[in-house]
Point group: C2
Chain length 244, copies 2
DNA sequence: CTCATCAACTGGTATGATCAGTTGATCATT
DNA sequence: AATGATCAACTGATCATACCAGTTGATGAG
């Protein structure tokens, strides 16, 4: 019903504005940012705010700062890390970039079977028990939305089972990217979420430590769910193309 | 021969110190950072420097800042993005964390075949030509080290061919992590790098747009190379365990 | 016990001065 | 002409000191 009022600090605003200009290529790699003192004037904020915003750009791999020289824009495709996905998925006009969406779904599709396989090899007993608990909740749940959340939790848990920190961090980055548009996907994933059987099969294989079966079941599930999204994106692209 | 002298800014120093304490769990999730004014005293720097450092921590997903309240440490395993890998691979004493190394190699192993498959589907003609050029250089090259660099370039190019921004950003994050210890791996990868045949087969499949073959060849190559690293890590772990 | 108030924290913003690298023009030396 | 010193004019980096704004918990009136 209610939601927390958004309040953005000045440095965040600075970061956002510059980030948007960079990812939209209004500022191209090699371009030089205005000097901090000039940015203060342009954005009408104090220099500290500008510097803090730039520090974040630097941390995100979007700019290079050199003492004494100008701050230059980097090629984010070559330099930035996976967390930039969240910035790329939705463009400046609020439209979902279908190419980015495809990329995310595709990467998830590529990783999921291997995550399940590693989960089967590496899970601890408590982790396996947690999978069981989630499965039980899924069986008991009737609402689609809740089921979807449980499905995501199930995957998070599988990632934890895999004992692979890279998988986990990558999933964090991907989650950050699609979280804001999750409600768009409800209904789209309805069919695959109702398929509790796949989750049961995966859980069983993970319990048994059966890599092969875990991988296979996960692949079956994730391929179907990915395909649904790809088809939706096809339609979405055609719709956008028609409105040009 | 020569290398650029390193110089670290104060805010970077602040960031590094806090980051190290967080990833080493000296500061646990939920812990509160000292107030900015206190940190100034402790670190003997200006408050601006402290704030800039904290902005970077915030950007990295390591802390949560609340106006009026204390800055709290987040659970980086649950919150941070993939670029944190670089911070995790080497611990505070300069030792490589083999669990993290395994994670990286495993993720690379999981992604590479799919990258090759997508490259076969999506490559442009110029990208395919670039693969050819790299392959030619590899054939001509005799030094192991140079070959290794070319091999990495080849993979970067494949990622570019895949037209998948998520793959690309993920690879950036992983590269940042292992780049600093690349020289440790020379020799380890010697055998797989000398195997130009695999690269030829992948290139050919990508040219032909043959997803299946591209995936298969890539898998063959990456599995062998990963296996070599895993065996090394086994030995490395036993060596470390023996010295306890 | 409830609730308003307020003091004492916390982070956020503002200003202005100064330190410290970088760059390019200038000019004397070779 | 080539080299290297010097200097002015940028750039970012650091500092000190205010003050604004949100949070928290103790205090005290009702």
């Amino acid at each position: 019903m209610f939601e927390a009022v958004k309040k953005q600090s000045l440095s965040e605003e600075v970061f956002e504005q510059l980030r948007a200009r960079i990812v939209s290529h209004k500022l191209k790699p090699g371009d030089e940012l205005p000097s901090e003192r000039v940015l203060c004037e342009l954005l009408n904020v104090n220099r500290g705010a500008v510097r803090e915003g730039i520090k974040r750009l630097q941390q995100a791999g979007l700019v290079q700062v050199r003492h004494g020289g100008a701050t230059t824009v980097l090629d984010f495709q070559a330099e930035a890390g996976l967390e930039l996905l969240a910035s790329l998925l939705v463009n400046e006009f609020g439209q979902v970039q279908s190419r980015v969406a495809r990329s995310i779904v595709r990467m998830r599709q590529a990783l999921s079977p291997e995550i399940a396989a590693d989960a089967a090899s590496n899970r601890s007993d408590e982790q396996a028990a947690k999978l069981d608990a989630l499965l039980e909740q899924m069986r008991a749940s009737s609402e689609t939305l809740q089921r979807q959340y449980l499905a995501f939790e199930f995957w998070e848990c599988l990632v934890e089972c895999s004992n692979n920190i890279a998988y986990r961090l990558a999933m964090n980055s991907m989650r950050r990217a699609y979280q804001p548009i999750l409600q768009l996907m409800t209904g789209l994933l309805e069919k695959s979420v109702q398929d509790v059987g796949s989750f049961e099969a995966i859980t069983e294989a993970v319990h048994a430590g059966d890599r092969i079966t875990a991988r296979q079941c996960a692949k079956g599930y994730i391929d179907a769910s990915s395909e649904a999204i790809f088809q939706f994106l096809d339609a979405y692209e055609q719709h956008n193309a028609a409105n040009d």
